[in-house]
């Protein structure tokens, strides 16, 4: 059979079959835009499948209810007050009842996300300062649209953990919801009994803890330490596995893992440990996303192409097959875990521009929330369609 005849056969027989198997997430699209326009949105988290929380650099946290269908103008319904510094991380307990926040104000706070009780209040959207005073290198950006006021329910924290004395950049929980681990810029790591909010263990690292994760069995804490510098890291970054029960170092991966990691995460099934390089902007394709063996720390593969100028966040999809990463190139990238194949980008690449600072995937895997610095808003993607199971 000639090559030409073979091609005809493939087109005749295989073509329709291939057309029925589009790439996963091929139909992903934006269905909601949640405007805030106040300050940089630094953390975002799904609460169940129909609510989203976002925190900004002022220390405000807002919650939006997401309707089943897209297209409506959405305003926040709740405002969580209490933090006085940037919200660095948000997570929701596995039972969906509690939102936990870590902040530059040196506290971790718990919020009851099921209760609608609270004081009536308001929040002003689009109140961000115009970016005047920018004299070079950065294009002048239009002022935000006119401010407007939204009525919200104002809620206060139900618990506060005050064991840290520096900015808290690292926050993670075990999948069973029993342990919480936090790390700060003084190099202090604390393992907490999550429901009780009591310290179980604490230890001191040498440098700033900028990202961490706790293994699904709750026994290992993976920690990236580095001190950010402008053109070079002031001290060499390091990466370690620590014993969560004793606070002793288990594995030193500093030689194998170079660069400061902005996010570290274990897959819920414990098969993968993922991390992304960022935290300080470096020119070029520097936002590498890497998969490691979670027990040995051995590098399995680096995912390519990397984000440009750094990556900010990562999230495993609940299907156990895909990893999402967010970068300083205004992109969310989707990767296939098994072979490391790049699936697609969400968003449009722009170099030296706005960042996607944080991402979260709904527990049912049908939606992605991305904190988009362009307009200081949260963008909700639908991930479902013909292409996605």
């Amino acid at each position: 059979m000639t090559r030409f005849a073979l091609s005809i056969l493939v087109l005749a027989c295989g073509g329709p079959f291939l057309a029925a198997q589009p790439a996963p997430f091929a139909d992903a699209k934006v269905i909601h835009t949640l405007p805030w326009n106040s300050n940089v949105i630094s953390a975002v988290a799904f609460i169940g499948n129909d609510k989203v929380a976002a925190g900004n650099k002022h220390g405000d946290i807002l919650i939006w209810n997401l309707p089943a269908r897209g297209g409506d103008k959405l305003d926040p319904v709740r405002r969580l007050i209490g933090h006085t510094g940037e919200i660095n991380r948000l997570l929701v307990t596995p039972d969906g009842k509690t939102l936990i926040s870590a902040s530059n104000d040196r506290t971790v706070k718990y919020w009851d996300v099921l209760s609608d009780a609270g004081e009536p209040g308001k929040v002003v959207l689009n109140d961000g300062a115009p970016l005047k005073g920018v004299v070079e290198k950065v294009a002048k950006i239009p002022d935000p649209p006119p401010p407007y006021e939204v009525k919200v329910v104002v809620q206060k924290p139900i618990k506060e953990l005050s064991g840290h004395k520096e900015w808290i950049q690292g926050l993670a929980q075990s999948p069973d919801g029993k342990r919480l681990v936090s790390g700060d810029d003084q190099g202090v790591i604390i393992v907490w009994d999550l429901p009780a909010g009591k310290e179980i263990q604490r230890w001191q690292c040498k440098h700033w803890v900028r990202s961490l994760a706790i293994s699904p069995d709750g026994k290992t804490v993976a920690v990236s330490q580095h001190v950010p510098g402008r053109n070079k890291l002031l001290v060499p970054p390091s990466f370690h596995f620590w014993d969560a029960d004793t606070g002793k170092m288990k594995v030193d991966l500093t030689k194998e893992i170079t660069g400061g990691m902005s996010a570290v995460a274990y897959s819920p099934d414990g098969k993968w440990l993922a991390m992304c390089r960022g935290n300080v902007e470096l020119e070029g394709p520097t936002g590498k996303v890497t998969l490691l063996d979670p027990s040995t720390g051995k590098k399995i593969r680096e995912l390519t192409p990397p984000h440009t100028r750094g990556a900010n966040d990562i999230a495993f999809h609940p299907d156990g097959k895909h990893l999402f990463s967010a970068g300083r190139d205004q992109l969310v990238k989707i990767w296939q875990l098994e072979d490391g194949k790049f699936v697609r980008d969400l968003g449009k690449f722009v170099d030296r521009s706005f960042w996607i600072t944080s991402i979260s995937i709904s527990p049912d895997g049908r939606h992605l929330a991305a904190a988009d610095d362009n307009g200081r808003k949260v963008v909700i993607y639908s991930l479902v369609g013909k292409s996605t199971p």
Partner: protein
């Protein structure tokens, strides 16, 4: 329009002396002062003043250090803390400096013109814009010329690290060029001789003999300046141990911080103690177009113990009264926070801090407006700042030099020292 008074009239003799005529008949620059600068130098030397310049390379944020705007949209994540002077607050990551606020004169109304690194560095080292295409000397060279102790074996102008840029001695001549050592204050490798002191001395004598013969045949200021530089280098080799602070550093490190900048500040202390007129120590990494806040915090954690310990040690050794410490940069940073969590270059309202040397501490001078976008009172430009520094050092800020026949002043016309800061 330039005008000349009778007592400093540019007469023909001065003009001819100011011109060095080459064999080809071309007039070239004559290094050095012509008129009353020698008298000024004698006066300044008698004052025994020295200067340490701490240069924050990249442009340091005024709002995240000494001109904080708590509660305003431009504030950033840092909180102000109280200092040892009522009414003066500084960033929470300057806790050691907060204990020395009584020594600080904080100028919060700097309005400067050159807001990119190269031109800003030049302008803030010379007080003239680089666009003038004049070989203006940097401030260290000017201080070296007027305040140096000619009997001292050490160089009069030392730059620790080259991160802040090297702008040179310009029309003052090569003998006032900076002597540049490494970032942590150590001497470069070539400064360690490979021969014994006896052989060095014999070589020095031979060189001196040859130079004298050469000088007899070729009189002229450039050759004299060259010989002076060479002789000073030989003397420096004898005094090089001053740069070796290793032994004392093991004890000082915990106070200054275990960093290159900490060691640079300690070396600066030792150098002014040994009679060096001007030492510049650079601390890099303030160009926070993105990620400004964590990087700024990291920088302040290095700056704070080093700067505060320097002030403390100068005071304890009785040197602060005669040692001016200047904390400066090429410009400030925008009050607005850009979309990459950064601040950009900004010259319209920023901050410089002076301490010691007779400066009246414990005060603010000038102010920016509510959000920090404009100067609200008492604007200070580059010339005013340099006039204040020169006055403090005992140097006439309007001292005149010549490039060929063209007069050049140490500071631009209209520059005025800030009287409120002078002790």
């Amino acid at each position: 329009m330039l005008s000349f008074h009778a007592n400093n009239h540019l007469d023909r003799r001065s003009l001819m002396k100011g011109l060095l005529t080459t064999a080809g008949g071309l007039a070239v620059a004559n290094w050095g002062a012509l008129t009353h600068s020698q008298t000024i130098a004698q006066e300044a030397r008698r004052s025994g003043k020295r200067c340490i310049m701490l240069y924050m390379e990249g442009g340091v944020s005024q709002i995240d250090t000494f001109d904080m705007k708590p509660g305003r949209p431009t504030a950033g994540p840092f909180l102000p803390i109280q200092t040892n002077v009522n009414g003066i607050q500084v960033c929470e990551y300057l806790p050691n400096i907060a204990r020395h606020a009584d020594k600080l004169a904080i100028i919060r109304s700097m309005r400067t013109q050159s807001v990119d690194h190269g031109i800003g560095g030049y302008h803030m080292h010379t007080c003239y814009p680089s666009s003038q295409r004049f070989p203006h000397p940097e401030i260290g060279a000017m201080v070296a010329k007027y305040c140096e102790n000619p009997d001292n074996d050490l160089p009069s102008f030392v730059k620790i690290g080259s991160e802040s840029g090297i702008y040179g001695a310009g029309y003052l001549g090569p003998q006032f060029e900076p002597f540049v050592v490494s970032d942590d204050g150590r001497l470069p490798g070539f400064a360690n001789p490979s021969v014994s002191p006896e052989i060095q001395d014999r070589r020095g004598e031979l060189l001196n003999f040859m130079e004298q013969r050469f000088a007899q045949q070729r009189p002229g200021d450039p050759f004299a300046a060259h010989r002076t530089s060479e002789l000073r280098t030989i003397r420096l080799m004898r005094a090089r141990r001053t740069f070796d602070v290793s032994e004392e550093w093991t004890r000082a490190r915990s106070r200054y911080g275990d960093s290159n900048f900490g060691r640079a500040c300690f070396t600066a202390l030792k150098l002014v103690e040994a009679g060096v007129s001007f030492v510049e120590a650079a601390h890099g990494g303030y160009d926070g177009h993105n990620d400004n806040f964590p990087t700024h915090k990291a920088n302040l954690q290095v700056l704070d113990p080093a700067w505060a310990s320097l002030l403390q040690d100068l005071q304890e050794r009785g040197l602060l009264r005669d040692t001016l410490v200047v904390w400066t940069s090429e410009f400030g940073r925008t009050p607005a926070i850009n979309f990459q969590a950064g601040r950009d270059h900004f010259g319209r309202a920023w901050t410089i801090v002076l301490a010691g040397g007779g400066i009246r501490g414990g005060q603010h001078y000038g102010a920016s407006n509510r959000d920090g976008f404009e100067v609200q009172e008492n604007p200070v430009n580059e010339g005013d700042l340099f006039a204040t520094i020169y006055r403090t050092m005992g140097i006439n800020h309007r001292v005149r030099h010549y490039l060929g026949a063209r007069p050049i002043w140490a500071t631009p016309e209209g520059s005025r020292p800030i009287q409120q800061l002078l002790g």
